[in-house]
Point group: C2
Chain length 338, copies 2
DNA sequence: TTAATTTATGTAAGCGATTACATCTAATTT
DNA sequence: AAATTAGATGTAATCGCTTACATAAATTAA
């Protein structure tokens, strides 16, 4: 009780009157130990409050039962649900998840990858594809299984567990076009470290090019998760002579920023202008008017990513990317034009 | 490049033509190595893409440079900002953060604690005080530094980095009372694993008892983070003969649930009824009407918790709890009565 | 009953790093 | 120039655990 130091296998072994090997077996392969000793050892473990030291275990067994996830930020709800689901599946399989955030920075992401690998991560969840080739080379050289989530491409370069941002945005845009909109603006954050946004922009463009007379005004926003910067972008769009009738935002956070700004400026949505988002996070249904957006199955994506990594960890080499479907959700922020 | 196996100190040492001890010194105490060898070793590390193995390092040095945080859930934005700040401070100090979620379950939290300690966590961030004594005993026996965040009590039992939920709720309630409300309802989630909610309820009661003729109807909600269950609780309150003029919700998520339900039922907030929340997360300003709530400095709390744990890790034993101040934010969902 | 097999347990060699201590070289002092 | 000291590097023990192999005990077969 007053011993600050942690009990070790030897302590447990001594108390239970067995060898350290037996203690280890009880912990790792209980079926190989007789009922009787199993109980003795169990009692000793309990009494001492023993927890195996990860370092020793990892070193000896060469397996860490650990995986890593690197997300751009936790502040944004976009990743929360997916990561939560990811973690739950791993926890059920007895795997600990290490999470770190890269702040949308390649160097920091690389540092995080190094650290996680050093910590013994047996698999990595990465968000999106945009990162230097050197990072991929590092991963390949080390032979670390990883999956790319939140996006899906057909390039066959990586294992994806995500959705087709291009197709999803294209579909949403088609819906918008069918409603009669021709003058379409888009507020999107930086694409430099964010392939998802890049694909969404391309998807919108593709849809618009198919319709005669429709045109896109692309307005960039300095951040992908700052409602106030999106509000600023909205305000600038409203100063144009030829105003758009709808604004597609690259995600829900920006869309909400735009809606809030519209309210401030006494511009009513959707009467004066329609606004759409992407992701369908909680706020999409909370904001007034409710936000038309693209629904993304975040939970299922996290689960699928975990499942895939677990399979890879088990040695399964014949794995395929998983494409999840999204769907356009029309809500009050979007209406027919005129 | 094609070697799947990870390079080890020996590999680096061989390539650089030095001993493993020197490689280790370059990595950990570079000032003890001559400029020349430092460069040689650095080049070798670079060429091999070497990352020290955590297990070996931890075992030998007895220091993991790792801390753990256990939060009830990630789905709820309530913890995101604080944890993000916590992680940033740790990362700056070169400490890796391990995060796991307990789903508001004591057993699972205990399991997580064991795992994190096994992983070498040198400090733990826990949310709130409500957990079995046995968990605290375990922590004490192992001599693991921990801080309790998201709450602050004067009992001197733990190191807190948080705010006084009781006082904060009391202050909000006083504001409500000063606006003339007498019939006050409160929607609160389960208190069983959640001391913060318990304190908030007590705080509201304390304020109400001070005012003659004021009374509290406590309506419990089966979850602390389900807007729809809060909506249900709201609907039930609306069936009372003697309806309250204001509903205090134990957090913003529940408050938003109540507001949404009110809208569905064609009850207007705040004309027909006022609603308040707690936490001041993003949605408080997004929802219509904007939500009156208690502002909590989540970011500063995370930073302070990290700072405190770092100090404890450095051996500083004379640490004190940190109480952060909150403030009542009156917004449109709350108005004078009548 | 003895031999063969199965099952349970123990012994001891690593796993990959760090670090106390020893050694060697170079710089400084006397 | 010899003696002392400081600085750089190497040698080898060590951290806590797992596991291949060896051994002992229990069971089954012959």
């Amino acid at each position: 009780m007053f011993e600050g130091s942690k009990p070790k296998v030897d302590d447990v072994a001594r108390l239970a009157g067995v060898s350290t090997a037996t203690v280890s077996r009880v912990l790792n392969t209980p079926e190989r130990v007789s009922e009787k000793t199993r109980k003795k050892v169990g009692a000793a473990v309990e009494e001492l409050g023993y927890t195996p030291n990860f370092g020793g275990r990892y070193l000896a067994s060469q397996t860490s039962r650990t995986m890593g996830a690197i997300i751009p930020t936790m502040e944004n709800a976009i990743f929360a649900k997916g990561i939560q689901a990811f973690q739950e599946v791993l926890a059920d399989a007895g795997i600990t998840l290490l999470i770190s955030t890269s702040s949308y920075d390649h160097e920091q992401e690389f540092e995080n990858i190094r650290t996680l690998i050093g910590q013994g991560a047996e698999g990595l969840l990465l968000i999106g594809t945009a990162r230097p080739q050197s990072t991929y080379d590092f991963l390949a050289r080390r032979n670390i299984p990883y999956v790319i989530a939140w996006n899906h491409r057909w390039d066959g370069k990586h294992l994806y567990v995500g959705f087709d941002n291009h197709a999803a945005m294209r579909e949403l845009t088609q819906t918008v076009l069918e409603m009669g909109h021709k003058d379409i603006a888009m507020i999107a954050g930086p694409t430099q470290f964010n392939d998802r946004i890049e694909d969404r922009i391309a998807g919108a463009k593709a849809a618009i090019e198919e319709v005669e007379g429709a045109q896109l005004i692309l307005k960039s926003c300095a951040s992908n998760y700052s409602p106030s910067l999106a509000g600023q972008a909205f305000a600038e769009l409203m100063q144009l002579n030829h105003k758009p009738s709808v604004i597609l935002c690259s995600n829900d956070v920006l869309a909400v920023g735009a809606i809030m700004q519209a309210r401030k400026m006494n511009i009513s949505v959707p009467e004066d202008i329609s606004i759409t988002g992407f992701d369908d996070i909680d706020i999409a249904e909370i904001v007034t008017p409710t936000l038309a957006t693209v629904h993304v199955p975040h939970g299922r994506m996290g689960q699928a990513a975990a499942g895939l990594l677990l399979k890879m960890r088990a040695g399964d080499t014949n794995n395929k990317s998983i494409k999840l479907s999204t769907n356009t959700v029309v809500r009050n922020s979007l209406r027919h034009y005129p």
